[in-house]
Amino acid sequence: MMSEHLKQLEAESIYIFREAAAQFERPVLLYSIGKDSSVLLHLALKAFAPGKLPFPLLHVDTTWKFKEMIQFRDQTAERLGLELLVHTNQEGLDQGIGPFSHGSRVHTDVMKTQALRQALDKGQYDGIFGGARRDEEGSRAKERVFSFRNTHHQWDPKGQRPELWQLYNGRLQPGESMRIFPLSNWTELDVWLYILQEQIPVVPLYFAKERPVVERQGTWLMVDDERMPLEPGERPQNRMIRFRTLGCYPLTGGIDSTAQSVEELLEEMLQSRSSERQGRLIDQDQAGSMEKKKREGYF
């Protein structure tokens, strides 16, 4: 038995995938390993079954992702026989850029935004699928499903192409590109309901487990490796936590939870009243910070 609203969202996303695959010459799916990427990939596979995906997966690796994420990424690519490309900003790596030494703003700019631009330029991709949803944050609420980027990968929120009915205008000049968001109309709740219904595998970090953590800025940070600087005498404590979103471990706060399955997690979510990106330190740097990052080319 399939939920009517999920059925509609699913059909809409598949339509968008097929539309983009038909309109662009070099599409690529930006795979960020999180739950939204899992759903995105699942929908992409459905859209082109029984054929193979007509585009590769691209992961921009900051080298600060949770170890379990990287493991999950490689297993997924292998299990499904997918072409996976991984890109890291080598310059940034050589300069030793990281969230602890340079702060979240510089780290995100160099290791994510600039790294993404490098990877896109290198592959000359014209259609780039992403898992962003409009309900995540205010500035995303107005972004189109086919979201135009100029030759510098920049977004102009005031100069967007009107988007009517299901008619997507993917016309581009050389060097320009389109970000495509098949999950635009999904909410966090929809994503989890769909994961439950379709039994889609996700990174285990989403489920509660005893994990070694330290407290930073009112949230729990997991000590995923030895690069985490500890205060003199500080020892990580073990806590039952889970993560609502996944990114670089030093920038991703966990929440106290006992939810160990998708059902339990959904139950907890339906009772909780905190919006999703709260655990992400990245959005809280400055007011309107997401909009700024997006203009510069962040996803």
């Binding site: 059909a11 598949i14 339509y15 859209a47 205010g138 009107p162 009517l164 205008n169 016309r171 059902e263």
Partner: protein, 615 residues
């Protein structure tokens, strides 16, 4: 499975549009809806409270839950379409929030194109305004049948029942006039929350549903019974030799394995062998489902073609239709320019042949207009470079709606809804480009306008002004003027009778060539003799030659004497000067008689455009 979760897995989806201006309290209303339904997350509540404290407000500003971009937050206005998502146990809602100002009609159309229902705000203190009328008209134009009219700010009128009832009555009358089927009014205060989610003691006289209750219960799905099947091919799947599937979304009706189908535009027939859906093979598919269809007979369908059912009424395949257009472009619409038209999954070059009228949305009046500007609505005739299958928007919106894309800037510059299709035999011209094809490309009917009249009658001034106007309207023209031609092509000719005849003959032939090139040719020559003008007329097909007699009396011409020729003629220095030393034979039955001493240039132009059927 826990029951709460089960409920969430059974809900359906409703997409609605909110229209009304900032002043009507639109953002506050949606904010209130979320707030009272307990759907605002804690961290957003904290942000709201921080803002309230910073600005020293007595209540949190609920409108902030809705406004998106930073600049808008600062200016306190919404400028584009923003989407908001919330769900109750009954339904998931997608809200398209669009600004209410007149200059944002285009945004409202965009929002409405994704919705099944409209929520319209009316400020109870102001009642029904022209804006209300405009919003309802757009809603009707886009084919939305369900409308909730929120009569807001009743708190400022002490929840006065009479005022509310008066407004309700006006709204219902307006709805009936426009043909809106399902129109509901709600007495509301977004600021206090009355009748948004909870009932209010202040309005104990109101017995209907609260806004949220109604939104949760209203039935918006239309039946697929009797709806013809449409399947625009989106993507062709060929994973291996033995499988060729046509991927796409059923936009209307339903289909089953074994059904006989037609492929359009080729009209080839075939049969459905297999339908693959999101969970594998399935026996049938209906509107909204994304599937892959495999056909019995091998065929080479490609993206843009449409599958229909053989047993159903035929779908129109045409290269021209009439449509309502909403203009988004910064440059105004000018007939004659080529755009890329995108309808369903097909993209084809198209020309706007004619602007039939502009729709004055306040009054729903159809007014003649030379152009459409940004946010204008109008009815146009379009010519496509090849015939495509399509429907009337009113019948089947998915195959009756399109966008126009500027081929240079790549921007989407218009949205269209087909109002009438003409089924037309498509004639294939094999290898020969002729007058019809040339003029089709230009989106115009070639003509020759022959201005005749005395020297100084104002022929050239008028012909120049007309060419200017036609050019602005996007027509391709050329002006042949006596003086210009005599400097080049007819340099060898003098003013004796024979030479004057040869002069006209040559100009007649040149006009004919230009006519053949598809141009609108304007000729400004004294051409005093009937027989010569008749000879030229006979070079062209009936209906192509327009004789325009500029009937300015000789006294007026002589007084004007712009080149001092009359003076010379009177002095006997110019032999064979028409009107003085040579006769002028006025036409017996010209297509148009104009004069430049009693009629203004604008009046003359109007007559010229109307005789050309271009106004």
């Amino acid at each position: 499975m826990p029951s709460l979760l089960e409920k969430h897995l059974q809900k359906d989806l409703l997409r609605f549009l909110t229209c009304g201006s900032v002043d009507d309290g639109k953002s506050t209303l949606i904010g209130r809806l979320l707030y009272d339904a307990g759907l605002v997350p804690d961290d957003q509540l904290a942000t709201l409270r921080a803002d309230q404290f910073k600005r020293g407000l007595s209540e949190p500003d609920l409108s902030l839950l809705l406004d998106g971009l930073q600049a808008e937050r600062e200016q306190g206005i919404t400028i584009d379409v923003a989407y908001r998502y919330f769900s109750t146990e009954q339904r998931k809602f997608i809200v398209a929030d669009t600004p209410g100002h007149e200059q944002y009609t285009a945004n409202m159309v965009t929002g409405a194109s994704h919705c099944q229902l409209a929520l319209l705000l009316v400020d109870a203190r102001k009642g029904v305004l022209s804006q209300t009328r405009r919003h309802l008209a757009v809603v009707r134009l886009l084919g939305l049948q369900h409308v909730a009219v929120v009569v807001n700010k009743l708190d400022l009128l002490n929840y006065n029942r009479e005022t509310y009832l008066q407004i309700e009555e006006q709204i219902q009358a307006l709805g009936q006039q426009l043909g809106l089927q399902d129109l509901h009014c709600f007495p509301i205060s977004a600021v206090t929350g009355a009748n948004v989610v909870h009932r209010s003691e202040q309005t104990d006289w109101y017995e209907g549903l609260t806004l949220l209750n109604w939104l949760e219960e209203v039935e918006v799905q239309t039946s697929i019974d009797g709806e013809p099947f449409r399947f625009p091919v989106q993507f062709v799947s060929r994973p291996h030799q033995d499988f060729r599937g046509y991927m796409g979304t059923v936009t209307a009706g339903q289909i089953s394995v074994g059904d006989e189908v037609l492929l359009l535009p080729s009209q080839a027939d075939n049969q459905v062998k297999q339908i693959v859906g999101v969970h594998g093979e399935q026996p049938s598919a209906q509107r909204g489902e994304a599937v892959t269809i495999v056909l019995e007979k091998e065929t080479d369908l490609s993206r843009g073609e449409v599958l229909v059912l053989k047993k159903e009424a035929p779908m129109i395949v045409t290269d021209q239709f009439e449509a309502n257009l909403v203009w988004f472009g910064d440059q105004p619409l000018r007939p004659g320019k080529r755009y890329e038209l995108r309808l369903g999954t097909v993209a084809v070059p198209a020309t706007i042949k004619r602007l039939l009228h502009r729709l004055e949305i306040q009054t729903m009046q159809e007014l003649p207009s030379p152009q459409l500007e940004r946010n204008d609505l109008g009815r146009c005739e379009l010519a496509l470079e090849k015939a495509i299958p399509c429907d009337r928007y009113e019948d089947l919106p998915a195959t009756g709606s399109f966008i126009l894309v500027d081929r240079v800037t790549d921007n989407t510059i218009a949205a269209g809804m087909i109002t009438a299709t003409a089924s037309r035999q498509v004639v294939w011209h094999q290898g020969r480009v002729d007058k019809a094809l040339r003029s089709q490309l230009k989106g115009q009917t070639p003509k020759v306008l022959w201005f005749t009249g005395l020297s100084g009658s104002g022929k050239s001034t008028l012909a120049n002004a007309l060419e200017q106007r036609l050019h602005e309207l996007g027509y391709h023209t050329y002006l042949l003027d006596g003086d210009n031609v005599r400097h080049g092509l007819n340099r060898d000719l003098g003013f004796q009778e024979e030479d004057r005849a040869e002069n006209i003959r040559r100009v007649g032939e040149v006009s004919k060539l230009m006519l053949d090139a598809g141009l609108i040719v304007l000729v400004s020559f004294i051409s005093p003799f009937k027989s010569e003008r008749q000879q030229v007329r006979e070079l062209m097909n009936p209906g192509e030659f327009f004789e325009v007699f500029v009937d300015t009396p000789i006294e007026v011409c002589e007084e004007r004497d712009p080149k001092g020729l009359y003076k010379l003629a009177r002095e006997g220095k110019l032999p064979n000067f028409t009107g003085i030393s040579s006769p002028y034979e006025p036409p017996d039955n010209p297509e148009l008689i104009l004069n430049t001493h009693q009629m203004s240039q604008e009046e003359n132009l109007k007559q010229l455009l109307s005789v050309l059927r271009l106004s």
